[in-house]
């Protein structure tokens, strides 16, 4: 009897067996939880007469979307709504990321300026916009745009006869690329490749003879000069479609809705504060000795910045900046508050309300964001591997 008790307690005190038991219990608990939840769910769904499955994706959506990058009408399927939503989310995130990077870089550098006023202003910008919730900023800018833009087409604010602003948005010229533009673009690509080889050649020359050559003008000519010449030789193969009043609206041109502008503005202003902090942290992380050492080696100011300071600063700054890009993309989902037709607003909003299949729709929405997150993490890992210090 005593032996048997010992046997059992020996087993229970064995780490491996304990771990196994513990994990088995966890798995059973998790599965039971989901089983119970889904069991209830199917009962509830049946009781409410909601159908299941992904059949609804082929059904006609039956509503209009103001902005779409692809062809869309109310006769399009719910699946098309899904794509329209994804594209709009990506569009506003992309624009936001570009502006946030530019503003953030400027503010981050300004924050470290030796000019007292500039440094204080940059600091004020960061402290002000960082500590106001992003959703509040989005609705605030939307409200400001809305109350300040003229209601009717006739009263549209006119900027140089090119841009018209009213409550339906910003109307501006839209470039239309002709086929010949492809040739210009090919020249541009060829210029990039050429620049790469020239750079390689001169680097080799420098390593052999110690004489360095400034390749800036070679590159400028190759990458921009040549394509520009070709562009004019081909007779400027870009046409512009200008917005013109036609009936009760503008025809032609490109229309950016106020929702889009408010969202992109708020996202860039808010995210820029974080990027600025990352830029500042990056620059500050480089020890002053590095700069002094570069100077005492005889490197010029530009050279030391390019070869010594920046590579080290970037290593610290880039990972948090990429993380901010992800945050911006996730924050773009707040578009739904001002009815910009992003993924959450259209698909997880209007379609969900019409179809009622909450689970399928929210899971699809979440998967899209997960995919974006995974993609950005992947980019981050690649960048980290590139930037990491290569030991010898």
């Amino acid at each position: 009897m005593k032996n048997k008790a010992n046997f059992l307690s020996n087993y229970l005190n064995n780490n491996e067996i304990r771990a196994f038991l513990f994990q088995a219990i966890t798995v059973v608990a998790i599965f039971y939880f989901f089983y119970a939840a889904f069991d209830n769910m199917f009962d509830n769904i049946a009781a409410r007469g909601i159908s299941t499955g992904y059949g609804f994706l082929d059904d006609e959506s039956g509503f209009n979307i103001a902005e779409s990058l692809i062809e869309y009408s109310s006769a399009s399927s719910n699946l098309t709504v899904f794509y329209v939503g994804i594209l709009n989310t990506l569009l506003v995130s992309f624009v936001g990321i570009i502006f946030a990077s530019v503003i953030g870089l400027l503010i981050g550098i300004a924050r470290l300026s030796s000019n007292w006023l500039i440094a204080k202003l940059a600091n004020g910008y960061i402290e002000l916009f960082r500590n106001i919730p992003i959703l509040l900023q989005i609705v605030f800018w939307y409200n400001i745009l809305l109350i300040n833009s003229p209601r009717s087409i006739k009263d549209s604010a006119n900027v140089l006869d090119l841009i018209f602003i009213n409550s339906r948005g910003f109307f501006m010229p839209k470039p239309i690329f002709e086929f010949e533009f492809l040739i210009v673009f090919l020249f541009f690509l060829a210029g990039l490749v050429g620049r790469f080889f020239i750079k390689k050649h001169y680097n080799k020359l420098r390593d052999e003879t110690g004489k360095s050559t400034n390749t800036f003008f070679h590159s400028l000519l190759l990458v921009f000069g040549l394509p520009l010449i070709v562009f004019f030789l081909l007779g400027s193969p870009i046409q512009f479609s200008y917005p013109e009043v036609q009936g009760f609206n503008f025809a032609g041109g490109m229309n950016l809705s106020l929702e889009f502008i408010a969202l992109a503005l708020a996202l860039s202003i808010y995210t820029a504060t974080y990027i600025a902090e990352a830029v500042r942290a990056g620059i500050e992380s480089v020890n002053i000795g590095q700069k002094e050492a570069a100077y005492s080696l005889g490197l010029t100011k530009t050279q030391s910045l390019k070869m010594v300071i920046l590579p080290q600063a970037l290593r610290v700054a880039i990972p948090p900046i990429i993380n901010q890009y992800l945050n911006l993309t996730k924050n773009s989902s707040l578009a739904t508050a001002i009815a910009y037709p992003d993924l959450v607003g259209t698909f997880a909003g209007t379609v969900l309300n019409q179809v009622g299949q909450a689970i399928e729709i929210i899971i699809m929405t979440m998967l899209v964001y997960l995919a974006i997150s995974l993609f950005i993490s992947f980019v981050l890992n690649v960048v980290n591997a590139k930037l990491s210090i290569k030991g010898r």
Binding site: N40, N115, I118, V344, M366
Partner: protein, 368 residues
């Protein structure tokens, strides 16, 4: 023997002292800097006067109606009239004292333990207060025995914002700790589920989780169980916040040297003792600045509940300006809410920087 006489002292050149030196060094040290300064001054000139005019000099503070109020500048009368709505939501006015008492109790409860010198008693007392406070707070706010019931859909404004943030941080803490430990665990299954949970939650926007909580969660419960809207939002926010807290605490756990684990093992402590007495206290202490940082983002995120139909402070703007008496005062509302939230968030971020400095003493010494 030569004698030396001190020459008369000359005052330093005017460019080397006082305001002029400061101006020269900080604003006009080079041509480029001078241009920048002028640019900044011009920018300020563009922004400050109209803003000051809108905010204060042209603004209306008196007791007027919306139509008498100016459209050119702020009409703060509107904020004054709706202040109660902004702070208490629809909570009945005669019961405001319950909200006041709930918040006052925080101060009282955090003061009581200081009266006790004995550490063992103090710890028990803190644990007791910590557990009893939420129950008491819920009783006071919601009501029940002896107190009139105030349904949660009447809660709103700043009160609701604070309640959501407070519940979110407290409730997400234990889950966050468990997930952080799970992610560090040697048990593969536990680690797998923890990583899955954390990365899933961190990969999706809060709004989708709130949608999940408000639309899908009710389907999970068996028929007849009606889950309160606020409670659903709280569940969503807690689950979301837990993943972020877990990552913060994991950072703290990773900073603990291996020797601490080994020493605890050598002392013969069990896993539970090791974790709760040796590892967690140190890990939590290191994580405090980041926990505050995470709390700041949670506080910002509480504004999202307006999308699922709760009336936090931001939602009150839309609500109160749809009152026919105060149409078109959104800007005032947004500025006011931004001001209040900014003060709270700015003080919290200053506080978090402060404690970061306090805990970073070793790093500072290295710099010297």
């Amino acid at each position: 023997m030569a004698t030396y006489e001190l020459k008369n002292k000359k005052s330093p050149p005017i460019s080397e002292i006082g305001v002029i030196k400061w101006l020269h060094e900080n604003l006009f040290s080079s041509l480029f800097n001078s241009i920048l300064t002028l640019f900044a001054l011009y920018l300020l000139y563009l922004i400050i006067p109209p803003l000051a005019d809108w905010l204060y000099f042209g603004a209306e503070f008196g007791n007027v109606t919306n139509d008498q109020c100016t459209r050119e500048a702020a009409c703060w009368t509107y904020i004054g009239k709706k202040l109660n709505l902004y702070i208490y939501g629809f909570y009945p006015e005669e019961h405001y004292w319950r909200i006041h008492l709930t918040f006052a109790l925080v101060a009282v409860f955090s003061f009581i333990p200081r009266l006790f010198k004995n550490n063992a008693h103090r710890f028990k007392l803190i644990a007791f207060l910590f557990i009893s406070y939420p129950i008491l707070a819920f009783y006071l706010l919601y009501g029940g025995i002896g107190l009139e019931v105030v349904e949660t859909h009447k809660w709103g404004g700043l009160t609701l914002t604070i309640i959501i943030a407070a519940v979110g941080i407290v409730a997400s803490f234990p889950i966050g700790i468990l997930m952080a430990l799970g992610r560090q665990s040697k048990m593969k299954v536990i680690r797998f589920f923890s990583v899955l949970y954390i990365e899933f939650i961190r990969g999706v926007p809060l709004i989708t989780i709130l949608f999940m909580a408000s639309v899908v969660l009710p389907l999970f419960f068996s028929e007849g169980i009606d889950v309160d809207k606020l409670l659903r939002a709280l569940i969503g926010i807690t689950l979301f916040q837990a993943a972020y807290i877990a990552e913060v605490i994991r950072g703290g756990l990773q900073a603990i040297p291996r020797g601490q684990y080994e020493a605890a093992d050598a002392m013969g402590l069990s896993f539970f003792q090791k974790t709760s007495l040796i590892i967690l206290p140190q890990a939590l202490k290191i994580s405090i600045p980041n926990i505050v940082g995470s709390f700041i983002s949670l506080f910002k995120d509480t504004t999202l509940v307006l999308i699922i139909g709760l009336f936090d402070m931001l939602a009150i703007v839309g609500l109160s300006t749809s009152d026919v008496n105060w149409l078109g005062r959104e800007t005032e509302g947004y500025v006011f809410v931004a001001f209040v939230l900014w003060i709270i968030l700015y003080s919290m971020s200053k506080y978090s920087k402060n404690i970061e400095k306090r805990y970073n003493t070793e790093l500072d010494k290295e710099k010297l």
